[in-house]
């Protein structure tokens, strides 16, 4: 049994983003990159299934990106994936979801993965398209936004997260692609022995072939920092003074502190 996990390297979202020269995406200078949060759950789901099946499945982790993307592949290997595939593409940020999905489907097509796990979306683009498009291009079943997963003899039972906290339970047979929502499981931390072991694991490096890519279906302009619509007051400074000013504003703008500091 072969399992594929697709992961993406994204910048830390706490960062301050500055547009690049052509204004289509962020400039990378000064950004720290790490694994997309949603993908941590995808890695964990695959590794847990491998453990459930006594180590039988081979878990391949794939990432597309410039040279730095190899860092998240190494992390996934330290978390228990068996082998890595790095599709090197320095122009990855210019690819649209259809093209990204084509690269993944192109890799997966002849390799008969029984299950493919992805994050439900990336934190930077957040289109929530790539996973579904991979499944559509491969012609396999797909369930998105899963917060529950179980596997029994080739049958997947998954819980989709719906609005209002309701879950939709679905059942399907492999091959299938599942996109993982936060909270699906509790992702583990890499341990030192596993980090050491992962250094011996193989990472296949493939060069993305731009000539084999389908044309893009959309393009991007105008990556900007939104203007604040909020007319809110911003306070900075020493905490004691800040607290006094907050209380003064609350007294003025709300009725909550009108009776001796308590409602």
């Amino acid at each position: 049994m072969n399992i594929l996990v697709c992961i993406k390297q994204v910048p830390d979202m706490e960062a301050r983003f500055i547009p690049n020269a052509d204004g289509t995406w962020f400039a990378e200078t000064g950004l720290a990159f790490r694994m997309n949060d949603y993908d941590l759950y995808a890695v964990e789901a695959a590794v847990r299934l491998k453990e459930q099946l006594c180590g039988a499945p081979e878990v391949t982790v794939l990432s597309i990106g410039p040279d730095r993307a190899v860092e998240v592949i190494r992390k996934a290997l330290a978390l228990g994936c068996d082998r890595g595939v790095h599709i090197r593409d320095p122009y990855v940020t210019e690819r649209d979801p259809w093209q990204i999905a084509s690269m993944i489907a192109g890799y997966g097509r002849s390799r008969n993965f029984e299950l493919i796990f992805t994050g439900m979306q990336s934190q930077d683009r957040g289109s929530a398209q790539v996973g579904v498009l991979v499944a559509e291009q491969l012609g396999i079943a797909c369930v998105t936004t899963i917060v529950g997963f179980s596997w029994h003899n080739g049958t997947v039972t998954a819980e989709r997260e719906l609005e209002g906290g309701t879950r939709g339970v679905v059942r399907l047979k492999s091959p299938a692609l599942l996109t993982c929502q936060l909270g699906l499981n509790t992702p583990r931390y890499p341990t030192l022995p596993n980090i050491m072991k992962s250094k011996k694991k193989e990472i296949t490096s493939l060069l993305s072939d731009a000539t084999a890519l389908p044309g893009r279906l959309s393009s991007v302009t105008g990556f900007i920092h939104p203007e604040r619509n909020g007319s809110g007051l911003v306070l900075q400074g020493e905490v004691s003074e800040l607290a006094d000013r907050v209380i003064a504003v609350l007294k003025e703008k709300t009725t909550l502190l009108s009776r001796g500091g308590k409602r």
């Binding site: 706490e14 929530a128 209002g164 339970v169 959309s218 105008g222 920092h225 905490v239 609350l250």
Partner: protein, 303 residues
């Protein structure tokens, strides 16, 4: 321009978000038709074509079956845009429709630009414009981004049919756990976000909430980390709240969280990142480390 709006129905109830779809079509100045796998006794009211399949026959959402039905409506209507909400229904189904049509999809649209559609990115901190390069575009709309339009009338019903085989079988709905905290009536809610940092710091949130006689709420990462019980989650997949005062502590303000608390009266945000999108809704934004700031605020409020 013609839009085909994709309505949503769960357990026999038409989703209220249909009004936002009509509002968006109106903003585009587009003619609109709708496709719905729904209930015949809860239909949208508008003047136009409604491509309809009865959910009593086709069941609850099944991606493969709904894909065929929507594609049937696309074939008959030949729209310039197929428009979904960016919901668990929309983000699941839209890419399947886009793939079948080889069309561009633009996800979670928040605005219309001259050269494309505005979307949020980088956890809501940035925006960008996506321009479709295909003749037909598939869109999903960010809930709350477009005002709902109240429509009247009786649509022309066109029944659609499709093969019902599917690799995915719908089993059941699992309701959210009962017996949780009802935050909807709280006058003050102090919300804990990822910036709380660790479980012990949740106590600082509780202490502040206690001073106000209020409740403790949380954004998703805090719930997922197990620092607070799931019934305290505020946002799209949790509760919607509208307290007189909402104190957002270490909450960056992901759109899913904002959707659950934007009805709050006064919003006080405490965050170390002055760019955090919560600033969009905050009446007062304190740039500070909550671990240092909250105990001082709580002590002063107690005096």
């Amino acid at each position: 321009m013609k839009t085909l709006l994709v309505g949503e129905c769960r357990e026999g109830r038409l989703s209220d978000s249909a009004a936002e779809l009509f509002g968006f079509a109106n903003l585009l100045g587009a003619e609109s038709a709708m496709v719905l796998v729904g209930a015949s006794d809860d239909l949208p009211c508008f003047e136009g074509r409604l491509y309809f399949a009865d959910a009593r026959e086709y069941g609850e959402y099944n991606p493969e079956v709904h894909k065929r039905l929507v594609l049937k409506a696309v074939e008959l209507e030949r729209p310039d845009a197929v428009v979904f909400m960016h919901s668990s229904y929309g983000w699941d189904l839209a890419p399947r429709i886009a793939a079948a049509m080889r069309s561009a999809q633009v996800s979670s649209v928040t605005g219309i630009e001259s050269d494309g559609f505005m979307v949020e990115c980088c956890n809501g901190k940035m925006r960008r414009t996506v321009r479709p390069l295909t003749p037909v575009v598939v869109l999903t709309l960010q809930p709350g981004a477009f005002s709902g339009l109240h429509t009247d009338g009786v649509p022309d019903m066109l029944m659609i049919e499709a093969d019902m085989t599917s690799p995915v079988e719908f089993v059941r709905y699992e309701p959210p756990p009962a017996g949780g905290v009802d935050l909807s009536r709280a006058a003050v809610i102090v919300g804990a976000g990822r910036g709380v940092g660790k479980k012990e710091h949740v106590e600082l949130i509780r202490e502040l909430a206690a001073v106000f006689g209020g409740e403790v709420g949380a954004s998703r990462p805090v719930i997922d980390a197990g620092w607070l019980e799931r019934s305290r989650q505020i946002g799209t997949t949790g509760q919607s709240v509208s307290p007189a005062l909402y104190v957002a502590c270490g909450i960056s303000g992901a759109i899913q969280h904002l959707a659950g608390m934007k009805g709050s009266g006064f919003v006080l945000a405490v965050n170390t990142d002055p760019d955090a999108p919560i600033g969009e809704l905050a009446d007062l934004f304190v740039v500070a480390d909550l671990v240092q700031f909250l105990p001082v605020l709580t002590a002063k409020l107690q005096q």
